[in-house]
């Protein structure tokens, strides 16, 4: 069971301002935050740093979110890390497909507040890992 304090969060998001704002919000809450700008960077960073939770955007250059998540799930450690999707996408079909395959746990709806996201992160982190 991981504690909220000093938990490591990885944000994979190509929009710099968005990423920074989320990162700021999370650091204010005491989290250690890492940022990656695309799926490829995100995959490398995740496997190297082994964060406690990943916030993942879907539409990114070089490698998109779903691809990164599927690849991450092939790794022994990667299979269990909680992933929360941040997306503006309304392509729910693709997403529900991915949900079905257990690639990620939550979908944060497109119209969200920073406070909502932080609450979700805390909630997800407090869940025991076996629930994957």
């Amino acid at each position: 069971m991981t504690e909220d304090k000093k938990a490591k969060i990885l944000i994979v998001e190509d929009e710099v301002i968005l990423s920074k704002t989320c990162a700021d919000g999370l650091s204010d809450e005491g989290f250690e935050v890492l940022e990656a700008r695309n799926g490829k960077e995100g995959l490398e960073l995740a496997l190297r740093e082994k964060p406690d939770l990943i916030l993942l955007d879907l539409l990114m250059p070089v490698m998109d979110g779903l691809t990164m998540a599927s690849q991450l799930r092939l790794d022994d450690w990667g299979r269990n890390v909680p992933i929360i999707i941040l997306t503006n996408l309304s392509d729910n079909n693709k997403i529900s497909e991915a949900l079905k395959h257990g690639i990620f746990d939550f979908l944060v709806k497109s119209d969200w507040k920073l406070a909502d996201m932080i609450a979700r992160v805390k909630e997800r982190l407090s869940k025991p890992p076996e629930q994957n």
């Binding site: 700021d24 204010d28 539409l59 503006n88 996408l89 309304s90 497109s110 507040k113 920073l114």
Partner: protein
């Protein structure tokens, strides 16, 4: 040589024979040319035939002047006969006597001739009738022949049309055996018509889903058409079907199958299909465009929203009252933009036809309950009372959950937005049978109906007909809430129009509104214009 037959016999014969007989003598002029003749002796029949008595000894010009006039050729013939001794026979119509005669003439001695008359009027009549009948029969035969040719031409034309229509066509008999495939079908399936006649349709046009799993025979649109009992059209709209060619390669296919009904029986089926590789590609591009547009359009406002949130949370230093107010206003304006973009994207999806109904069996009441749950906090914040009148039993329908959620969410949001604090919102679920009336509307098929009512501002009578129009907002709504897009109800109605559902409402200004949504028991189904498609 003297004949042994007594003269009395000849007299008897002469007097009783049926044919008319006249012995005549030619009268010649000074030049020796025949000008007249005398009836020397005539029999009873002759006199009867020409209708004159006491002909003996009379001249032709005296006795039968009319005949001499009307049938001058006879005089010629008699002259010939009497002069040359050659016998002649003709058949002629003697107008003054209104009869047909067969006239034989021979010459017993030069200058003399004998006429034998036979009335052949009735024979002629019979002959004429026969001729007429023959002509009539010939006409009928000709007509039949013409009609046959016409039918053959029509048939050939029809076949030519069928064979050359721009889509693949496959026709089967009532047991599903193929009787015809056209050129395009031959090309698409890579099979020749003569190869496939008599084969089962599922072998001639095998179909599989996107994963490569063959479609079961019962699921094949042609089979569905064959087992229908009325004219329906089975179309593969919301399935990604593929048709497999002879060489095992496949192409994405759209197929429309209809039964052929004669009298009341299904005597076969026709499947019209086409390779929709290009269309699927275009659809994919449209969806991709909308996804991309969606992402790109929503990202900047999302960023602004989060930045404003942090500022307003005093995370970047304490704000003055004025600063707080301004940033608050930025937030509101930004939210309007987000709402508008969302609505426009929904609308584009619908209008561009990148609208695909993906239905699964769902417990309707469960879905509605979960949507209500999402709004509970806002309902509480506004101090509104919420009443739910559930159905009491489980009802499962084929629903496109996403779209259904959009519909119910939109209506509940409206109820919340346009009802002042202290008001009430009620959500009722009902099953309504075909033929019953609800909310002033007649229900044509048994449906699940959800009613969302509020005690809010209502819609002014004069503007009620515009409520489903794009960008329309009623005056009182505009007044109470500056932020609406005017697209919510338009989108809800567009979805329902395209999925076989219904929406209607009743409303009184300052009293409240009641919105009704009906989904038939057969579920949300694709509907293109007025044609009903049974989803195959």
């Amino acid at each position: 040589m003297k004949l042994k037959v007594p003269e009395t016999f000849y007299k008897l014969l002469f007097d009783n024979m049926i044919d008319g007989l006249a012995c005549c003598q030619m009268i010649l002029d000074k030049q020796g040319q025949p000008v007249d003749f005398i009836y020397v002796k005539t029999n009873k029949s002759f006199e009867k035939m020409i209708g004159l008595k006491g002909a003996a000894g009379k001249k032709a010009t005296e006795l039968t002047p009319k005949i001499t006039e009307s049938n001058s050729e006879l005089f010629e013939i008699f002259s010939q006969v009497s002069l040359t001794g050659e016998s002649k026979r003709i058949e002629t119509y003697i107008k003054p006597l209104l009869s047909w005669f067969s006239i034989s003439a021979f010459s017993p001695k030069k200058g003399f001739f004998v006429i034998i008359l036979e009335d052949i009027t009735s024979r002629k009549k019979t002959e004429k009738n026969l001729e007429n009948e023959k002509a009539a029969a010939r006409n009928v035969l000709e007509d039949l022949s013409t009609e046959k040719t016409k039918v053959e031409i029509a048939k050939a034309k029809e076949e030519a049309i069928l064979l050359s229509i721009g889509n693949g066509l496959i026709a089967t008999n009532e047991t599903g055996k193929v009787i015809l495939i056209n050129k395009i079908a031959e090309k698409l399936l890579d099979k020749k018509s003569r190869e496939v006649v008599g084969e089962n349709f599922s072998e001639v046009a095998p179909m599989e889903d996107e994963k490569g799993v063959p479609i079961r025979t019962e699921e094949h649109p042609i089979n569905k058409a064959l087992s229908a009992d009325k004219i329906i059209t089975v179309a593969t709209i919301s399935h990604d079907y593929y048709c497999v060619r002879k060489n095992k390669t496949r192409f994405p296919v759209a197929i429309i199958a209809t039964p052929v009904i004669l009298g009341r029986k299904v005597i076969g089926a026709i499947g019209v299909f086409q390779d929709v590789t290009k269309e699927r590609e275009v659809d994919r591009l449209k969806s991709e465009f909308i996804s991309l547009a969606s992402h790109q359009l929503k990202t900047p406002p999302t960023i602004i929203k989060l930045l404003a949130e942090r500022l307003l949370g005093n995370k970047i230093g304490e704000l003055t009252k004025g600063q707080r107010e301004y940033i608050g206003d930025i937030s509101l304006a930004n939210q309007r933009m987000i709402d508008l973009v969302n609505a426009l994207l929904d609308m584009s999806r619908i209008e561009l036809g990148a609208f695909e109904l993906r239905t699964t069996k769902k417990d309707v009441c469960e879905v509605i309950r979960s949507i209500i749950d999402e709004s509970r906090s806002i309902i509480d914040q506004k101090h509104l009372r919420l009443r739910i009148a559930p159905l009491g039993k489980k009802v499962e329908l084929m629903l496109d959950e996403t779209l259904f959620r959009t519909i119910i969410n939109s209506l509940i949001t409206n109820a919340i937005t346009y009802t002042p604090a202290g008001g009430e919102i009620e959500v009722t679920c009902r099953m309504v049978d075909k033929g019953q009336k609800i909310g002033g509307n007649d229900i044509v098929e048994t449906s699940f109906v959800v009613i969302i009512s509020d005690t809010g501002y209502g819609i002014p009578q004069s503007q009620q007909d515009k409520v489903f129009n794009r960008f329309f907002r009623a005056d009182n709504a505009r007044e109470k809430n500056a932020n609406g897009t005017g697209l919510g109800l338009y989108i809800v109605k567009s979805i329902l129009d395209r999925s076989n559902g219904l929406i209607w409402f009743s409303s009184r200004e300052n009293k409240g509104s009641m919105f009704y949504v009906a989904i038939p028991l057969t579920g949300m189904r694709a509907k293109a214009g007025s044609q009903e498609f049974v989803d195959g």
